[in-house]
């Protein structure tokens, strides 16, 4: 029986919700032309079907991806889900359908458009997550460390565990300005909190002193005879500079 394609899915925007879309598509033999969530309400000519998030179904799908395709495929899908790729849900669905048909080899089929799109996007998310491990800067306010980031993708789930492992005894807050979410780590507890706006407060004397020391170190360590702005820009794209202490006023 041919799959029905003249339909759109509406889900709650969570990863589990997306897995439920996969579940629905599989069992109802539907291939939605669009999948979107409540926040990005879209115009569509197709009838819209609301997919209710069901944890058990989501778990089943997650398990089956690991089993029938591979752990690597699951990782790719998860990274893509956090990306800002256009139509990421439909692409993920198509990728998984291929995967269920072909098996673990699917991740090697880099010549296929969907696989390539998924792989590229996942790499992009992974690399942005890594960049923030490098370029994120904390300032201290009364013993609490605070940072602001402005990522294209939603990197907090990938980036924050690194800082929790690194600073188990600290309290810190990382504010994602793009997605308006704060990650808070306090007494070993981790929380994601929606937060409309947030700016760094005025630094105290000690904080100012460390900023000045760091800037001085940064400027002194460069070797004049080898100045190479292009290389610097290549390694450290300019869009990260705005929140880095060494480039602050």
């Amino acid at each position: 029986m041919p799959y029905r394609t003249d339909i759109a899915y509406l889900y709650d925007g969570s990863f589990e919700g997306l897995l439920c879309c996969v579940y629905e598509s599989y069992y109802q033999k539907e291939l939605p032309s669009m999948i979107f969530n409540y926040e990005e309400a879209q115009e569509t000519l197709f009838p819209v079907k609301e997919i209710v998030t069901d944890r058990t179904a989501a778990k089943k799908v997650e398990y089956s991806i690991g089993q029938s395709i591979s752990k690597g495929a699951l990782r790719l899908v998860r990274l893509c889900y956090f990306s800002h790729m256009a139509e990421r849900e439909v692409t993920i669905l198509n990728f998984l359908r291929m995967g269920y048909k072909i098996g673990p080899r699917v991740t090697n089929m880099l010549a296929h458009d969907t696989v390539r799109a998924i792989t590229k996007t996942a790499q992009n998310v992974a690399s942005e997550s890594h960049f923030y491990k490098e370029f994120l800067r904390f300032s201290e306010y009364n013993g609490v460390l605070v940072a602001i980031i402005e990522p294209k993708n939603f990197v907090l789930p990938m980036t924050s565990p690194h800082f929790c492992d690194r600073f188990p005894s600290e309290q810190f807050l990382i504010y994602d300005k793009t997605h308006k979410v704060a990650f808070v780590y306090q007494n070993g507890e981790k929380r994601l909190i929606p937060l409309e706006g947030f700016e760094l407060p005025e630094a105290d004397a000690e904080e100012k002193q460390y900023r000045a020391l760091w800037k001085r170190f940064y400027n002194t360590i460069a070797i004049e005879g080898r100045s190479n702005p292009k290389l610097r820009m290549g390694n450290m794209p300019k869009r990260y500079w705005a929140h880095m202490t060494e480039f602050m006023e």
Binding site: F163, R166, P168, L213, T220, R226, N228, L231, G234
Partner: protein
């Protein structure tokens, strides 16, 4: 003297040291402590020269009692002197680390009073950081040549990596420019570190709680361009160091003429950056591409061709090795194709299991063909319209690089200038096209 001024002097004095990688150990965080270490290394910033900043790289002191003529810190030079208090340095480092400015510490020092005293001061800094602040991140320390064995061991137990600078590529050059140091005073601690690592490994196997002795291994650095050694001598020396002392890395540093001296190149000498770059490329070939030093150069051709990279150079001299069929060649053979890196070769191996590959497939997969196309076939066919004899290939390669060659070397080869960190080693260079 305030700490800002000290930091300025002691950073300035340390900046010519090129080794600044934070990689080689994986250590998770632990409750009640601060820090962890990632084997892949993490860069935290890039300075105006494009180099990675991973570690707080400073000298303990620049008040040297020695007089090496290539060095700004030598006794007879008139420069401002400073020395960190151990406490002050430890606190500074930890505060930088908390703010995610750095990945750890790279501590070196001029010889203050004598080698033993210097070493003791450094031990104090490290033990404050490790034991008082309970820091589990990365520390690289320079062994001080001439210091007591026991002190070196104590230092090594607190650090992740220890290195001794070879300084100059030959015995004669060392005698000429660094009269207070001898080849022995450098090689002895190097050998000592190697033995230390070995003994530690056996101890670790026996007793579970043995502290780790420099778990990330040792590295060294030499200055090129201050003395007359050829590339052939240098690369052979590196190969021997990798074998004999089991070094993790050899760093090369183009001589920067900051000093005048009887035996030194004149001040207007340009640093040999392109040469340094070629040495790094060759070093890569030794470490990751299974090349032998003697394959790359010989006594008749003792220096690298400035126009093309060492791998291309080798390929053009071994043209009968090519073309390589991408659908059947083993991994080691693919690695020898100019323009094909470790990642490119692995991609090919993976993808060809799915079916045979042609040129458009390679392109789609993101394999860079610019140089590789001259040396490979797909299903027995060469890329369309390409020449097939060495001279023509060289001409082809150079004409593609021709425009770039008109620019100054640093610009042109900036793509490869990832000499500072092993993260880049892995992520960028390997994807790149050595």
């Amino acid at each position: 003297m305030d700490i800002l001024e000290k930091l300025t002097i002691l950073t300035d004095a340390a900046k010519y040291d090129v080794a600044c990688t934070s990689s080689g150990v994986d250590r998770k965080g632990a409750p009640g402590s601060i820090g962890n270490a990632a084997a892949c290394g993490i860069c935290h910033s890039f300075s105006a020269d494009g180099r990675c900043i991973a570690l707080l790289k400073v000298l303990m002191s620049n008040a040297c009692v020695y007089d090496c003529s290539y060095c700004v810190n030598r006794k007879s030079n008139d420069v401002p002197r400073a020395t960190f208090e151990p406490r002050e340095l430890a606190e500074l480092m930890i505060q930088f680390y908390r703010r995610n400015y750095i990945e750890g510490l790279f501590l070196s020092s001029a010889v203050v009073r004598n080698p033993d005293y210097t070493c003791e001061q450094m031990i104090e800094v490290l033990s404050l950081i490790r034991n008082t602040y309970r820091f589990r991140g990365y520390i690289h320390v320079k062994a001080i040549p001439g210091a007591d064995d026991k002190l070196l061991t104590a230092l090594g137990l607190l650090a992740d990596r220890m290195s001794v600078n070879l300084e100059l590529p030959s015995h004669d050059s060392l005698k000429l420019l660094a009269p207070d140091k001898s080849r022995e005073s450098i090689l002895v601690p190097m050998g000592r570190i190697k033995t230390g690592i070995h003994e530690n490994r056996t101890d670790l196997a026996k007793y579970r709680n043995t502290p780790r002795f420099v778990p990330a291994g040792q590295s060294t650095q030499m200055i090129v361009g201050a003395t007359p050694e050829t590339d052939y001598q240098i690369i052979n020396l590196s190969a021997a160091l990798y074998k004999k002392y089991e070094l993790k890395r050899v760093f090369y540093s183009a001589y920067m003429p900051v000093m005048t001296g009887r035996n030194l190149p004149s001040l207007d000498t340009k640093p040999q950056l392109l040469r340094e770059h070629r040495l790094y490329q060759a070093d890569w070939l030794l470490r990751f591409y299974q090349f032998d030093a003697t394959e790359l150069l010989d006594e008749k051709n003792p220096n690298f061709n400035p126009l093309i990279d060492p791998k291309c150079n080798w390929a053009l001299n071994h043209y009968d090795f090519f073309p390589v069929e991408v659908n059947t060649a083993p991994y080691e053979t693919l690695l020898r194709v100019p323009g094909l890196g470790v990642i490119g070769a692995k991609k090919i191996i993976r993808a060809r299991r799915m079916g045979s590959l042609d040129f458009p497939d390679l392109k789609k997969m993101g394999v860079v063909l610019k140089r590789a196309q001259y040396f490979i076939t797909c299903r027995g066919k060469t890329a369309l319209g390409l020449p097939s004899n060495p001279e023509a290939v060289l001409r082809g390669l150079l004409s593609e690089q021709g425009a770039a060659l008109a620019q100054p070397p640093m610009e042109q080869f900036s793509l490869f200038d990832h000499t500072d960190s092993t993260k880049e080693d892995l992520v960028k260079c390997l994807t790149g096209q050595i």
